[in-house]
Symmetry: C2
Subunit: 479 residues, 2 copies
């Protein structure tokens, strides 16, 4: 028991060391294990189950908007990757290369996909011939590899899991609509499923995806005020189509280039969930993706009828929820701490007195509020509480986002906030990438997050150079 | 229209050239596309949807039997792969190696996983300490890579998709039970979902998995009599546990090695479905994995009310089935041929006369039998027909398996069957691998499939050397 107690106690407090708190939580909650390849992780059952729940929800959203799943190879010949100049420049520095297959050294080395634009384009060139073949709305679930120098579980891995949508359209307008439709799909998923508010907007030229005409982003704020770029959607115009010679016969019988998008979210979202909602007791999981929604804990388990009642509740609730009954020999107190640490939204306690009274106790993970619930009202109470937990997690995260977002009117103010107030900075910008570089250098890493879709007018001039402002930018340190 | 007609007509007849028929079908039905990396394919939406349906069904079966999904890295350090001698000998010749990451040549090359025993063992060594940690019942869905010299879509790819179960148990008995439980899970999936009968049994020493103590297999027979090893389940004993130093404290407080299994099925199953059920008109898909179960074809589409009725049926049936309405400008006749070629189990025709009569026409893909169905009995009729199609596909495949399975009592008889009768050969065997080699050489490739769980007594002596027989073996040429 001493060991078990220590396990929960040994989570570092967030305020003492947020980074240590984060790695403590993911280890204790058994989300991941490290491996002998740097930056590559084992997703343990509890961690992977979160991903599966995210996948299921997103996949339905993609299919509802007309997308189809496909699977393309994990290897890209170097010559194929090189067809689009900006793209290869962006990705070659972090590529992993297969150079030997079986006993032979390959005549052309093959890149383990860091992203699959090149492969999709190779395929699209073969299957798109007429405007009747458009749009092509493909999505792929897979793992990708980027040879990162500094890695951090979920947030920056050498190998990570993601989905990548790649679509082709008849017109630029349709492609632009798709780009924003998918960004909004991500936003809705973050709000409705992960209970995470996001700032949405367009990346600056400097921060956009290699080869894109425009990159849109959803930016989430972690509990400590640090930004996490959580999903991106890119409009490519017809640049890749030209590079890969993808053409179609249009309605007017002329040969045209189709217009392209891509968009992706990754296992990084698991990191966002941990760092937005977690607390000093461990994980706090949003109910809609929690692998266990209700943990059933029998109290005075060895008294007659308790285990039967607990089992019956488990059976009954499993019809509708993801439920775990813990009938192990550990004490109820240990179990309470354990499932709190694992972020289970609701704990259900059932003991002899409850049985006698035809009730049970529901305890919320986020507030620890107890609700005595008649068994005949159990499902409606659980439904209500799970929704309340979701809403309350969202509101808390939104409050944090608002509380840690600051307006900077002057250069001095910008530097002061950057140094003293972790969070987002809203400030005006002239549009010059040099000002982005300068502020990043001066602050030791505060970068532009995006030009938000809803810009405020904070001042007339750029917070950096004083020239007339073109846009409001949101700034922040990032993971 | 000429083009479209040709598309369907251009499937080579099975009897003329089975291999050509196969590649024609997978191209025409748009299951795959080739890529610039040999043996790596694009799974197009229709092909990938078959895989998704297989996954969903299997995943439920795995979870029902207590398994949890995880995800492990795609790269294995060479030193890790080398820990188990037999295993590395089996897989090194077909390994693909990452030797460069970013700008640097790696100090140790990394193998793109051909299978993940080594990685699971590395992880298990860290998380298994006590008998309380057992069993570990993990499964992983991922892609693997084997540098094959000769490739064939779905059947033998350089990269393929699969699931790999890896489990650890307290005792040898438990592990052996698990090995057979999962083999039987595969068998049930093949019969109940894919409508494919299989021969089950144990592989000979010569044919077992690299590093396993015993390998069990399900062997399916393709329409042309060729065997397809369709799923395997391995019992490892504690060999890997010793090599990777995985130990646990047992109930008696002694340090022990756990006992291990692994088991897998792959996208090869899609090849099996095509080659077991297909015919000269193209695919014939078993209803339970068909991406489209009912194709709704409006007849005289431009007459008033037809499209509305077709749309209403589409909406109604989508509640329960995977449905596609084809309201394109192609003729009904073209559509009939198209969805036949794509193997859609049921076609629903609805025209003005049907609407007037409150009915529609259901046409089975496998028999082309027509059923005039009152609209108020539609779902029950579809349910019945889909089940009948499943049963009838299974029975047809079983008849083929029986018709093409031959007993060989003598060496001469064996060689005669091998030369003249495509199919399985049942024959007695002394247990000596040399006899396996000899028969394989003499027949130009007939290999032992398995020692079936149910052995017949065909003769007293080995069909090859004439020594006393130990087992009956099932033999066959393979893909």
């Amino acid at each position: 028991m001493a060991d078990q107690k220590k396990m929960v106690e040994s989570i570092t407090s967030m305020d003492v060391d947020f980074a240590k708190w984060y790695t403590d939580v993911i280890k204790k909650a058994e989300l991941i294990d490290y491996t002998s390849v740097k930056g590559c992780m084992v997703y343990r059952p509890y961690g992977y189950a979160i991903w599966e729940n995210m996948q299921k929800d997103l996949d339905q959203r993609f299919k509802k908007t007309g997308h189809e799943n496909v699977y393309l190879p994990m290897l890209i010949p170097e010559s194929l990757l090189q067809k689009e100049k900006d793209h290869v420049e962006g990705f070659a520095p972090e590529a992993a290369w297969v150079t030997i297959g079986g006993d032979e050294t390959l005549t052309e080395r093959l890149c383990v996909r860091p992203t699959s634009e090149a492969l999709f384009c190779e395929h699209y060139a073969k299957v798109i011939n007429s405007y009747r073949d458009l749009p092509k709305l493909y999505n792929q679930w897979c793992s990708v590899m980027r040879w990162e120098k500094t890695t951090r579980p979920f947030l920056r891995n050498t190998e990570f899991l993601w989905q990548e949508g790649h679509t082709m359209h008849e017109t630029a307008e349709e492609a632009q609509e798709e780009t924003l439709r998918m960004l909004n799909t991500y936003k809705a998923f973050f709000e409705e499923t992960l209970a995470i508010p996001v700032v949405t907007g367009r990346k600056t030229e400097k921060e956009k995806f290699a080869g894109a005409e425009a990159t849109y982003t959803i930016e989430a704020m972690m509990h400590n005020g640090v930004a996490l770029q959580s999903g991106t959607s890119h409009y490519f115009g017809d640049g890749f189509a030209k590079a890969f010679d993808i053409t179609f016969t249009g309605r007017d019988n002329t040969i045209q280039y189709p217009h392209q998008t891509s968009w992706g979210v990754t296992t990084r979202m698991i990191g966002a969930v941990i760092m937005v909602h977690g607390d000093d007791n461990g994980l706090v999981l949003p109910p809609r993706i929690a692998p266990i929604q209700v943990a059933v804990i029998p109290v005075a388990m060895h008294k007659e009828g308790v285990l039967d009642a607990a089992n019956a509740l488990k059976e009954r609730l499993s019809e509708k929820y993801r439920v775990k009954l813990d009938d192990s020999d550990n004490s109820p107190g240990w179990k309470y701490a354990e499932y709190e640490m694992r972020g289970v939204p609701l704990r259900l306690e059932i003991g002899p007195k409850d049985i006698a009274n035809g009730q049970c106790v529901l305890v919320r993970r986020d507030t620890r509020e107890k609700t005595f619930t008649p068994l005949d009202q159990l499902e409606e109470t659980i439904d209500r509480l799970l929704n309340e937990i979701h809403d309350s997690l969202y509101q808390k995260a939104l409050d944090n986002l608002h509380a840690k977002t600051f307006e900077a009117r002057t250069h001095e103010e910008f530097l002061d906030i950057a140094e003293n107030k972790p969070g987002f900075i809203e400030a005006m910008w002239c549009g010059d990438p040099e000002c982005e570089d300068k502020l990043k250098d001066e602050t030791g890493g505060v970068k532009s997050r995006c030009i938000p879709f809803v810009e405020k007018h904070i001042a007339d001039t750029c917070v950096c150079c004083g020239k007339p402002a073109k846009h409001m930018l949101v700034w922040g340190r990032q993971y």
